[in-house]
Symmetry: C2
Subunit: 338 residues, 2 copies
């Protein structure tokens, strides 16, 4: 049997690259850098390929599948989401699709705690004062640059999956008093208790009866739910009006869950104390004059939730494993159901 051709759209991080190169029964065609590959290169190289390992930035559409032809059996995507893949076309052609959703819980939960603290402690504003040379002229006063403390707070989670629960686990020794959560079944206990915090935990953790209760009682609101038609703009001006004036909002999920205009005006009018965002509507097209960037109590990061070295290594290794497993007809680490 002639070696099966695989196309890989990047150079991978070392452990993944080694794993890939160790598969001696493959004809390996690989883009030579760790920057996005040219589309025309990909379409040309895809011809006759059995598998393609690609990134979020590589559109996996009918054009690409047509270019590959009938030989194509496996797509291994180095990504948590699969928005860049034409799922229907994949199904029709019976191509298996692997992805890498499971590696990033720690990385995102770490970042969530960071954003909560940055929003409460006004980190963006404080750094800005130093960077612009204002520190020498800041007259000390007892409430200078103060924000609310995390000890004693109620933390409300919109969405209560693995990342939210990992965040809660990290917050407990900061002295939070209580956690509330809202899932798609308001008032119902969460199905999964990933870290044993719900039944035997050291603080009360309970489902909110609705979004109003969650908004009104939380000192910290963490948005960690999936984006669906029913969660789009669930955090809107009504939600902000319910929130406490010293509360902060953190979004580590998807931008459109939060109504950006409503957030800008909640910060402007003092309906809430601050915000920490890793995601925002219309990202990455955020220009320097975006109205949210004028709010000193808002921290906005460029979607770096999973950006730690170990996580990206693990994602790369898993995407190679998915590719190889798919070619051999074995079980992938994570496969999208057809």
């Amino acid at each position: 049997m002639s070696p099966r051709k695989v196309v890989v759209t990047r150079q991978l991080i070392e452990p993944a690259q080694k794993l890939l190169e160790a598969a001696s029964d493959l004809e390996l065609i690989q883009w030579p850098t760790d920057q996005p590959c040219d589309r025309s290169w990909l379409l040309e190289q895809a011809k006759g390929a059995s598998g393609i390992l690609l990134m979020l930035s590589d559109k996996c559409d009918k054009e690409l599948m047509d270019a590959a032809g009938d030989t194509l059996k496996v797509i291994a995507s180095f990504s948590v989401g699969t928005d860049h893949v034409d799922r229907e076309a994949i199904r029709e052609r019976k191509i298996r699709l692997g992805y890498t959703p499971s590696a990033l819980t720690d990385a995102v939960a770490d970042l969530t705690v960071m954003l909560i603290l940055m929003a409460q402690r006004r980190a963006g504003e404080a750094m800005g004062k130093v960077l612009t040379g204002q520190w020498p002229q800041m007259p000390w006063s007892p409430l200078l640059m103060t924000g609310p403390q995390i000890r004693g707070t109620t933390v409300g989670f919109l969405g209560f999956g693995r990342i939210a629960q990992a965040t809660l686990q990290r917050l407990i020794p900061f002295g939070i008093s209580k956690a509330l959560y809202l899932t798609s079944k308001p008032g119902q206990p969460a199905k999964e208790d990933h870290y044993g915090l719900l039944k035997e935990g050291s603080i009360p953790v309970s489902p909110a009866s609705d979004w109003k209760q969650l908004a009104a009682e939380s000192d910290v609101v963490v948005v960690g739910c999936a984006l669906t038609p029913s969660t789009r703009h669930i955090v809107n001006s009504e939600f902000f009006h319910q929130m406490k004036k010293l509360a902060v909002l953190v979004n580590i999920a998807r931008g459109p869950v939060v109504d950006t205009d409503a957030l800008v005006s909640a910060l402007e009018t003092g309906d809430i104390f601050g915000a920490g965002l890793d995601v925002i509507e219309n990202e990455p097209n955020i220009q320097a004059d975006h109205p949210l960037l004028k709010q000193p109590r808002c921290v906005l990061l460029p979607h770096v939730g999973s950006a730690n070295i170990e996580t990206r290594e693990q994602m790369a290794v898993e995407s190679v494993k998915n590719l190889l497993a798919g070619l051999k007809g074995e079980a992938m680490v994570n496969e999208v159901e057809p």
Copy 2:
């Protein structure tokens, strides 16, 4: 007996102000805003005062004590340090000195965790890219904006008092593997185990034999020691050379413990991965062209360690209690030994 005169150099936060006003046997003279008082006003009003409640920004020297005269029995300072007080003059005149060092453990430990995560996850650099409108042009690559993960790290504490131990307590659910610490007695176990982490903790916590071991083995170094002649510049270029290339340095103690020039060059040459500082040599005189501010992997905050609302309220209340206790000859919450 005529009411005793007290001078207070600010308007205080509400609970403290109420406590002060409830003391009906006092003639209360108080600066009318929460901004620093005029020195000339203070010197004039001090005449005949029995007690003065003052801030870090009010110099408590012989000139002030002379202006007050023999009536002065109590200084209550709203501060953790007492560098602004002429301790010898206080001793000679048998004036009692109260201060407020105990309220801020939580606030500083929270900020320390925030700075560790910001240094690892490149928060300053990431925010800067968004603020300057670079997000739309950031081509995604697997290692874009990545930093080291906290899970699995060894955290080294230079100084291991209450704040350092409170920080360690918060870090445990992030999955750190091990803690090392160095006190003024290298290799000796810490005297106090404030949170039960040393003997029965879930991870190994052990004294380092010397600074070299601490520098070489830690993925995160937290500077939390007092500034003394032997700790000044203890973190210098030799220290940075010993550190791991993916390690971060966090200083929440006093600026001069870290040699700033050595830090700039360690960041420039990649001897360490990043830094998070709440304090720096020569603060607050840090201009916008300070060389450290050109290092994208360094976060510098304007000494806001204790800046949360609850902490400052507690400090204000304690300073009033110290003032009142001093006037009555009772025990203060915290009094400086003469």
